[in-house]
Symmetry: C2
Subunit: 215 residues, 2 copies
Amino acid sequence: MSLARVQHISISLDGFATGEGLSLAAPFGHAGDRLHEWMFETCWWRQMIGQPGGTRGVDDAFLRQFAPGIGAEIMGAGKFGYPGWQDDPEWKGWWGSNPPFHTPVFVLTHRPRASIEMEGGTTFHFLDASPTEALAAARAAAAGQDVRIGGGATMVRDFLAAGLIDHMHIVLVPILLGRGVRLWDGLEGLEKDYAIEAMSSPSGVTHVTFTRAGL
Amino acid sequence: MSLARVQHISISLDGFATGEGLSLAAPFGHAGDRLHEWMFETCWWRQMIGQPGGTRGVDDAFLRQFAPGIGAEIMGAGKFGYPGWQDDPEWKGWWGSNPPFHTPVFVLTHRPRASIEMEGGTTFHFLDASPTEALAAARAAAAGQDVRIGGGATMVRDFLAAGLIDHMHIVLVPILLGRGVRLWDGLEGLEKDYAIEAMSSPSGVTHVTFTRAGL
């Protein structure tokens, strides 16, 4: 069974997955790196950027689920680029020539362009599609493996509202951003469809997993 | 030193400390009992209502800090009664003839009335005052002990915004209420003034404590 999975979306205590004032220089706006500092301390992250050390506890364990079993990703236009990237024909995402996905990646945008094949197995496809249509396309590309619902918050919320998410891992970071994009708006009663587990980490964050009932 | 302490304010994952549609019949509106079910399972709660059993783990440990060292409480009008209680001269709070406070309790309201002495040491005083003024009055009544900042969410937020809280215990409940009164609005950067610790409980809730830096 090919699952639709949300992986380690970090949100502040007040529910913001990104700040205000997003730009090429500030991908998360006034939030800066604060939502993701917990990741930078892990062994998984250090290995990815070619550095030694890092923690190997619960934070690392969750992050190591990033690639295994994933055959495709769907991401929102707001994750693929800065506001306005659609006007930049040279924009190929934030991740350099060899992005960390290594699968087909479907970028949801109302202004699709031709697919871009990157190094390392990542190909960006651009779709103007509903969540249901996008998931069908990604599943076909994933060849039986799971599909990562990659964010940002707005598209995760759309997929949750459409009832399409099978498993979700949220990371609560103990800061108050005050403004930005909220993950939770309009999802009253979401817990009815999921088994929810919370686990605090010595790093200060709390991992919250949502597993669809009956999965 | 007399501290101002917030004790076990329960909020949903999306940050609501109470629901919508508050009334005499529904003190927490559409939230019902869902924010407080974790409390009902503890030994502390069972003892208070004269029942045996209950858990004696981390949830119970936090709740047992309710009374010790507290010399007075301040609560908002929305905690003392249902919307409109100010028009009911007989209203004496939700808690019967012997309320669980057993100290002076200062109720913040724009329509103060004469103090009410209850059984068991609780006396309700009614103040039309700023957070700073109310805290001064409560500290004087607490005779060197701490002051409980009792809620609801709106008054806790006012006291946080005024920089008056020394210690705060929040309980994250894994439900999504979708609507109601948010605790966190307007508190960007609050974490700068506090050491924050999160601890998940086997019951499913996560305890988050805020301890003022340097305390």
